[in-house]
C-alpha cells in the first residue's frame, strides 16, 4: 500500500502534523522510535500558551490524548533510510518497507555532546543529558551543569532544590536565554556561575569524580570535584537516515525548508527541531507540524487535480 503521507517522529511537531492529516482524511502512518522526543524530558514548561506551568511529560500526555481521538496508525520503529522511488518515497524501518506519496520528517534532535575525554566513559556514571531523568539520583551531592542557555538554566532551577551545590560552567561571558530564567538562576544561593570556562575533560574511577576546565581569560587549567555533570549545550538534528543524495541538509545536518516547511523536493516536508530553525521550542514545533501537514495536504490536492 502507498500511503498519502508518512510522518516520521511523534513529538510536538509530528503529533501536530498527525492531527491535521487525520482531520483532512489522509491515509497516513506515523513511524517513530518513541512518543514525546525531547519535549517529554523538558522539565517544567512555562512558555506554552494555555499552560502557565506544566511538566513536559504532562504536556506531551495532553498532546497524545488529543491525537488518540483520531486513532492514528502509529508504528514504533527506528528509520533506517528514506529514498525516492519514482513518484513516491520508500522508507526502510527495521525489516519493513513503507511507501508514501508525501513525507513529513519530524524526527527532532538529540542533545549535543561535548566530544571530550571521559564524556562517553562516564555517561550514566555521573554524566547525563537529562536532569528530569537523573537529577534525583544526585540528591545531596555536588554537580556541574555545562551550558548557559535556557535548558541549562532550567536544570539549575530544578536541581538547586535537590543537590547540595551546583557549578554552572559557561563558555560565554554571559548567560543566554530568557531574562526571567536568567534572573531566577542568579538568585539561587547554592549555585556558582563560572564564565568563560571551557570544559576539557571528565575524570574519575568507576564513577565520575570531577571535571577540568580551561579558564579562557587566563588559560589556566582548573578542577571541580563533582559527582554529576549535566550537559546542555544545544542539540543535533536526527538526520542520520537521510542520505546525501536527497541533498536537503545544510552543513549542520539540519533539513533546509522554506516558509511552507517544504524541502527542495516538492513532496518532502519537515518540521520541528530537525529543521534549520534558530529557535527550538515546543510552541514552534507545534506550529511547524501544522504548517508541514497543510502543505502536504495542499500538495496532494494539486497532484490529484492534475
Amino acid at each position: 500500500m502507498i500511503f498519502d503521507l508518512i510522518i516520521i517522529g511523534a513529538s510536538a511537531s509530528g503529533m501536530s502534523a498527525a492531527i491535521y492529516a487525520a482531520r483532512a482524511g489522509l491515509n497516513f502512518l506515523v513511524i517513530t522510535k518513541d512518543m514525546g522526543g525531547n519535549a517529554i524530558k523538558a522539565g517544567l514548561v512555562e512558555n506554552y500558551l494555555g499552560f502557565p506551568s506544566i511538566a513536559g511529560m504532562d504536556l506531551i500526555k495532553t498532546f497524545q490524548e488529543h491525537l488518540e481521538k483520531y486513532t492514528p496508525n502509529v508504528i514504533f520503529k527506528e528509520i533506517e533510510s528514506i529514498e525516492q522511488k519514482n513518484t513516491h518515497f520508500l522508507i526502510k524501518a527495521g525489516e519493513q518497507n513503507f511507501e508514501a506519496k508525501t513525507v513529513i520528517i519530524a524526527s527532532g534532535a538529540d542533545p549535543e555532546t561535548l566530544k571530550i575525554p571521559g564524556e562517553k566513559e562516564f555517561f550514566n556514571k555521573g554524566v547525563s543529558y537529562c536532569e528530569t531523568c537523573d537529577g534525583p539520583i544526585f540528591a545531596g551531592k555536588d554537580v556541574a551543569i555545562i551550558g548557559g542557555g535556557n535548558s541549562a538554566l532550567k536544570a539549575v532551577v530544578a536541581l538547586s532544590k535537590i543537590v547540595s551545590y551546583i557549578y554552572l560552567v559557561v563558555i560565554e561571558n554571559e548567560l543566554q536565554g530568557e531574562r526571567v530564567m536568567i534572573e531566577k538562576a542568579k538568585q539561587i544561593k547554592n549555585v556558582k556561575i563560572i564564565y568563560q570556562a571551557k570544559t576539557t575533560d571528565f575524570f574519575g574511577a568507576n564513577f565520575l569524580e570531577g571535571l577540568h576546565y580551561q579558564d579562557l581569560n587566563t588559560g589556566a587549567k582548573k578542577e571541580i570535584k563533582i559527582s554529576g555533570a549535566f550537559i546542555y549545550i544545544g542539540v543535533k538534528p536526527n538526520t542520520k537516515f537521510i542520505s546525501a543524495n536527497l541533498d536537503i541538509l545544510n552543513e549542520k545536518k539540519e533539513i533546509i525548508v522554506d516558509k511552507s516547511c517544504q524541502t527542495k523536493i516538492p513532496s518532502l516536508f519537515a518540521a520541528g527541531d530537525v529543521v534549520d530553525n534558530q529557535y527550538r521550542q515546543i510552541s514552534i514545533a507545534v506550529g511547524e507540524g501544522a504548517r508541514a501537514a497543510l502543505s502536504a495536504i495542499n500538495y496532494l490536492d494539486n497532484v490529484r487535480e492534475q
Partner: protein, 78 residues
C-alpha cells in the same frame, strides 16, 4: 510468573512510560525509587554498574532505559 523490579526516579519521563506500559499489560512489578531509597540505588548500581534510569529487572535480566522491544520479548507481550 516472572519477577519484575523497576528502578526509577519520580521525575524521569521514561520511568513513567515504562511503569505505565507494564500496568497496561497487567504485569505486576515492584517499584523502587532510587532517589530516596539508598539501598535500592546501591542495588541498581551493583546490578548495572551505572546510574541511568529506568532500570528494569525481569527475573535477573537487566534492561537499561525503556527498551519496549526487549521488555515485550522477555515478558512475552505480543
Amino acid at each position: 510468573m516472572k519477577k519484575v523490579i523497576v528502578y526509577s526516579t519520580p521525575t524521569c519521563p521514561y520511568c513513567v512510560v515504562a511503569k505505565n506500559f507494564l500496568k497496561e499489560h497487567s504485569i505486576e512489578f515492584e517499584a523502587k525509587d532510587v532517589a530516596i531509597d539508598e539501598k535500592a540505588r546501591e542495588e541498581m548500581i551493583k546490578k548495572t554498574g551505572q546510574m541511568g534510569v529506568p532500570v528494569i529487572d525481569i527475573d535477573g535480566e537487566i534492561i537499561i532505559n525503556f527498551d519496549e522491544g526487549r521488555i515485550r520479548k522477555l515478558l512475552d507481550i505480543k
